[in-house]
């Protein structure tokens, strides 16, 4: 197993800047998920690590060795592709052993490794089948098996679950988590799905527009998003944002955004005087929007109108309009009010986030 370092990686496709100075250190045995919206450069970064794309600037190191010019097969990595890329004219066994056969590994060794991988992934029954005779989940397992057989230093996964249906995706997510525990390998996993990122990762790298927005453990990026983009990207349903202005009112900072007027407690923003008159965006997760009985004890209540209720089973999504602002609250089922009725809303200050409107950076603690 090995560590991986990206140092100031730049990638240009002609004049189009795709990656702009990416620096990440990935430690040995670490499961790192690179997440971001489509077009953010995450797959390009992975393909550069695999050696499938040229590097415009910067260095990539695997185990301390600079691999910029090294051929993909010499980098001791294995990659699982989004569309699996199983060779359609070869059986499962031939697919898994292809790399070893090219390297002229001896036959007994190939057989042993294929059997081992097939055991781990429960593919023994399918070894003689063609890829087209397998279901999506089975193909996915073969693609992973093909990677395992090579005993690489680093596993690369490029959106491996995005071609599967929702239920299978959940199952395979658990499979991959189990596989990680078993192999204890360095894994770099690219996805656009923040749920996969949150559930699988040891550390998450969040990217947008070719720049790393935040690197941290799942709980860090969830609790303390570094900027507006991360706050909006991580967490489902999406965080509520209110745009407004801070003003000093005696000892306390007051936030006002249309009809919403809140007192910002000092544990969120130290040194209130510094922030007087600042334009900010306040973010609150739907779970921290309190409505109905839970809002009874609050001090700063705002009046809103319930627009739509969505029952999810044990939870319920409430879409509430406060003045010009729309808020989403997620509450315990059942919230017994009909759409159109007036409700009182307040916020859980402990989990409130304040961002500067111009820099979009987090300014609250």
């Amino acid at each position: 197993m090995a560590s991986v370092q990206f140092k100031g990686i730049v990638k240009k496709f002609k004049d189009n800047l795709v990656l702009n100075g990416v620096d990440v250190d990935i430690k040995d045995h670490e499961f790192v998920v690179i997440v971001g919206p489509s077009g953010c450069g995450k797959t390009t970064l992975l393909r550069m690590l695999a050696g499938l794309e040229d590097i415009t600037g910067g260095d990539i190191l695997i185990d301390g060795l600079r691999v910029n010019e090294l051929h993909p097969s010499k980098r001791q990595i294995a990659m699982v592709f989004q569309d699996y890329a199983l060779y359609p004219h070869m059986t499962v066994e031939e697919n898994m052993s292809f790399a070893l056969r090219l390297r002229k590994t001896d036959k007994a060794e190939i057989g042993a490794r294929v059997d081992e991988a097939a055991n781990i992934l429960q593919l023994q029954k399918f070894l003689k089948r063609m890829p087209k005779q397998l279901s999506g989940g089975q193909r996915q397992r073969v693609a992973i098996g093909r990677a395992i057989v090579r005993k690489p230093k680093v596993f690369l996964f490029d959106e491996p679950l995005s071609n599967l249906d929702a239920k299978l995706r959940e199952e395979m997510r658990v499979e991959i988590a189990k596989l990680y525990q078993r192999l204890n390998a360095t894994i770099i996993y690219v996805t656009h799905d923040q749920v996969e990122a949150m559930t699988l990762a040891g550390r998450i790298v969040i990217m947008n527009h070719g720049i790393i927005q935040q690197v941290g453990s799942p709980i860090e990026v969830y609790r303390k998003p570094a900027n507006l983009f991360v706050a909006g990207f991580i967490g489902s349903p999406t965080m509520n944002f209110m745009h407004g202005k801070l003003a000093l009112d005696g000892e306390h900072l007051r936030f006002s955004s249309g009809d919403i007027k809140l007192t910002i407690p000092p544990y969120l923003l130290h040194d209130p005087k510094k922030h007087d008159g600042r334009e900010v965006t306040v973010g609150v997760r739907p779970d921290d929007v309190l409505v109905g009985r839970t809002a009874d004890g609050c001090s700063d209540k705002v009046d809103g109108v319930l627009e739509v209720c969505e029952l999810l089973g044990h939870r319920e999504n409430l879409y509430i309009k406060v003045g010009e602002t729309r808020l989403l609250a997620t509450v315990e089922a059942f919230f017994d009010r009909s759409p159109g009725s007036a409700v009182q809303v307040c916020f859980n200050y402990k989990n409130m986030h304040v961002f500067d409107k111009v820099t979009e950076k987090r300014i609250s603690e």
Binding site: L52, S73, I77, A85, Y87, R146, R150
Partner: protein, 395 residues
């Protein structure tokens, strides 16, 4: 006014065809409408032949027993077809397809049946007047088929020599078509500048009418004024060591006719294979190559283990077609060597067949010959297609 007259004649011909199709449609329409009624069978057998009798009498001015009996047989055939095949369902599609069926029957089935008939009789220059006067040809049984394998269709070359030459010709042509097409397709599949321009240039030999292309190339192989010999003589003048290796201008058309034909036909056939293979290459997902790169395959290993197996489904039908076309390619051979006392050294089966029929006037013999060639090609195609199916099963 000549131009008015030709317009009048062309229009008349078109109207005649339209009327013929309309009559045919009307004829079938009544069959489709009433074929399941109990009275229709005898009525049709009386009414339609009677109508045909009247029409033919009006047109030709007399009773034509042969024509009429042919029509009666056709009517019986059609009635039988309706009774046992159509059975009331999907009548409209059959009705609309009927003229095409009749057209195909006239253009394909009738000549083929007549060919088989000829091959069992003896029609040649000495019996053709007898056929014209009495309508009878001497029956020959299997004699013509025996002759195909024992006598020469031309003045000297035997059937077996021709067959060997044809197989050599077919194999070498198809081999170079595929090899050349594959190489060019691989080049064009890269990201290169002016790709569309190169592709257009490379397709030109295929897009040109074959006769024009072949005759133009034939000129280039002329011993004194052809491009090939001029280049060769300039080369040997500039690099004398080439001449010492035996390279120099040669009499292409008279000394190496088959080689000349092969070179011309390779040039003509490469674009088709190139286009087909390029299509196949472009349909291969690039992620297979990415995966192969990571697995450590070299360029030739990728070609061998990824590209070739994945273009096989498009390559196999193209090779089958190419084989049949080359086997049957009379154009190139005839246009390069066959006109007016040309050589026999380049003749393949079909060009010998053409000469046997229309230069030596051995009609029945060439009919039998044609059927043998047909059987050969049929066998080749079925074998190829069988191989293709097996390849498909494998995937």
């Amino acid at each position: 006014m000549d131009i008015l007259r030709s317009i009048y004649e062309v229009t008349g011909f078109i109207v005649l065809i339209a009327l013929g199709v309309a009559a045919l449609e009307g004829y079938f329409y009544y069959h489709f409408k009433f074929h399941d009624r109990s009275w229709f069978f005898p009525a049709a057998l009386l009414a339609f032949p009677a109508l045909a009798l009247a029409v033919s009498a009006a047109v030709t001015g007399g009773f034509q027993p042969r024509l009429w009996s042919w029509f009666l047989m056709a009517e019986l055939l059609v009635l039988a077809g309706f009774k046992y095949a159509v059975k009331g369902r999907h009548t409209v599609p059959y009705l609309l397809l009927a003229p095409a069926f009749v057209g195909l029957a006239l253009l394909l089935v009738y000549p083929f049946v007549f060919e088989v008939y000829l091959s069992f009789h003896d029609l040649k220059l000495t019996t053709i007047m007898m056929w014209k006067n009495t309508g009878k040809i001497p029956f020959a049984g299997l004699d013509q088929y025996v002759k195909v394998f024992t006598t020469s269709p031309l003045s000297e070359v035997s059937f077996w020599a021709l067959l060997g030459r044809t197989l050599l010709w077919t194999f070498s042509n198809v081999f170079f078509h595929v090899a050349g097409g594959f190489a060019l397709a691989l080049l064009l599949n890269n990201a290169i500048r002016f790709k569309g321009f190169y592709r257009t240039l490379l397709v030109i030999p295929w897009a040109m009418p074959q006769v024009v292309a072949v005759l133009a190339m034939r000129g280039e192989f002329h011993s004194q004024n052809g491009f090939v010999n001029i280049i060769l003589s300039k080369l040997t003048a500039a690099f004398p060591f080439l001449a010492s290796m035996g390279i120099g201008p040669v009499q292409w058309l008279s000394d190496y006719p088959l080689l000349t034909c092969t070179i011309i036909n390779v040039w003509l056939g490469i674009p088709f294979m190139m286009v087909v293979i390029l299509g196949g290459l472009q349909s291969i997902s690039s992620s297979y190559y990415d995966a192969a790169d990571i697995d450590g395959a070299s360029y030739f290993q990728k070609l061998r283990f990824i590209t070739l197996p994945l273009i096989k489904p498009v390559l196999m039908p193209a090779v089958t077609l190419g084989t049949v076309w080359t086997f049957n390619n009379i154009n190139v051979i005839y246009l390069v060597t066959g006109q007016a006392g040309g050589t026999e050294q380049a003749d393949i089966l079909v060009s010998a067949l053409y000469k046997a029929a229309f230069t030596y006037n051995r009609y029945s013999y060439s009919a039998a010959f044609a059927i043998v060639v047909f059987a050969l090609l049929f066998f080749i195609s079925v074998t190829y297609l069988h191989g293709f199916d097996a390849a498909k099963e494998e995937r």
